[in-house]
């Protein structure tokens, strides 16, 4: 018997795969479909105070080893989102509500509203690299990360997860700041800020010019960040960035991730990616003598004994 269940800051997951924020998670029925496809938890689209249409198209560029996107945080606004969460909850897995805002006070207020709307936990988007005034602009300073987490903890009574940016040379400082602020876990990493230019057009492709790189291309960066953060803080780390196969998930957990999130691989393998990753993890564990997925945690820090 191979046990895939994990518990992360009080959230009990039947398996360690979560749907990452931004993918198939703006509507309740889509989230429900992903839950039914096997995800252990769902993180919602990042939701703000007001409805927002996001950036002009093109908003996605398909690359050989990943995607570059600049959706620009489109969302219907927190006021309309309780309905979607309720629908998603029919899937029977924890729903983690992602929120974004321009200030520490506002993101905390939104965290409170998201908990009120029924979310089982809140993920603070301190890391979107392509929306002016939001995301990484709030999350690049350890002081602002700490204050955002601290205020969010005051504003709600569910676990608070801080999603961090890799577009910095001191990701561990951000993680430590989140821990000081009382965050229950950190999520690493968001996308890497990037740009694609079409040579014939002589123009950046994305409507927003720059965007965030995701997918297999960024996995080594994510693994490195999780490894460093695991050493730097006591709170759990949730790993995200290029997880496409069960082996990728194992790598992240060995780096120190208690659970992992999957986004771009939905493009590569469809919503079935969650059950496929679980199956592949199980096979790996059987062959290599692990009976519980929890035994993978942080293995790479000491080697296998």
């Amino acid at each position: 018997m191979t046990d895939l269940s994990v518990e992360v800051c009080g959230l009990r997951l039947k398996n360690p795969t979560m749907l990452a924020s931004g993918v198939l998670d703006e509507t309740g029925k889509s989230m429900l479909a992903v839950a039914k496809a096997g995800a252990g938890a769902i993180v919602t689209k990042s939701i703000g105070r007001e409805p927002r249409i996001g950036h002009p198209n093109p908003s996605v560029v398909e690359l050989e080893d990943g995607l570059l996107n600049a959706m620009g945080l489109p969302n219907p606004g927190i006021g309309l989102f309780a309905k979607e969460i309720n629908e998603a909850k029919r899937g029977g897995v924890p729903i983690i509500g992602s929120v974004f805002a321009g200030t520490e006070e506002e993101i905390a207020e939104l965290a409170g509203m998201m908990a009120q709307a029924g979310a089982d936990a809140v993920e603070l988007n301190l890391s979107c690299p392509h929306a002016k005034g939001y995301g990484a602009e709030l999350g690049s300073s350890p002081e602002r990360v700490e204050r955002s987490c601290w205020l969010a903890k005051q504003a709600c009574n569910v676990p608070v997860l801080a999603k961090l940016t890799p577009n910095t040379s001191y990701v561990t400082e951000l993680a430590k700041a989140a821990e000081r602020g009382g965050a229950d876990a950190v999520v690493a990493i968001n996308t890497l800020k990037g740009m694609a230019i079409n040579p014939e057009a002589g123009l950046p492709v994305l409507g927003n010019k720059f965007g965030g790189l995701s997918g297999p291309a960024i996995k080594p960066v994510g693994i490195r960040c999780v490894y460093e953060i695991y050493d730097a803080v006591q709170i759990p780390v949730i790993g995200v960035g290029g997880v496409t196969t069960g082996r990728d998930a194992v790598e992240y957990m060995m780096a120190g991730a208690s659970a992992i999130q999957i986004g771009t691989a939905v493009w590569l393998r469809g919503a079935d990616v969650f059950s496929l990753v679980c199956k592949e993890m199980t096979e790996f564990m059987k062959v290599n003598g692990f009976s519980s997925v929890r035994q993978l945690l942080g293995v790479a820090h000491s080697g296998r004994h």
Binding site: G22, V23, E26, T27, K29, G54, S59, M71, N198, A201
Partner: protein
Amino acid sequence: MLKIKKHVDETPNIKTMRFDEKLEAMPGQFVMVWVPGVDEFPMSVTYTGSQFGIAYQIIGDGTKALAEKKIGDRIGIRGPYGNGFILKGKKMLVVAGGVGMAPVAPLIDSAKKGSVDLVLGARVREELLFEKRATAAGAKVHIATDDGSKGFKGFASELAKELMDEQRFDQVYACGPEMMIAKVVDLASMKKVPIQASLERIMKCGIGICDSCALDGFHVCKDGPVFSQVELKNLDDLGRAKLDPAGRKVPV
């Protein structure tokens, strides 16, 4: 980036654009069309294979900018994406309204001569798209215009009902305004004839990840744009609700 080879006015506000490149697409599949510096939007492929082409209605800034492109200008194309129509049965009814004729035209082209009855609808006769093309492909064409300027006076769905009352079809295909599609889906289910219909929603990524084109848990870009009977019957929002660019539900 592809060079525009031909750019033709088909009706007062519908144009076709063809390229030198080959693109194999199923009828009903779409491509994402990038007008650099302006916008990117989905367009159904209306000519597949060599010198593939799209047909589009000028409705907003993006298509307006596309309409101004000259022969030899370049635009970006990615795709084809989504599911297409599947040719099934010996006697088929195609119901097309307005620019909804674009994705079903290659289906009619590929069908056996004499096997298709086409109900082609438009508001006025000048807006009828690809009537000659369908006739040349061997389809029996039935025209409906809202103002009666040609053929049956009324909606394509009403004319389709008359045909379905008189004749038995093996398969129905529909593309056009959503209210027309919703009516034809109801008709087909009443007559117990399988139907395939192409739907439209706001699309951003085109590749099944962003949730902008969500429709009752399906995604028009990946699970559609062509949906089968089983799916269509279970769509609560068909003919009723769609998402606006911010993801708020609004009436169709």
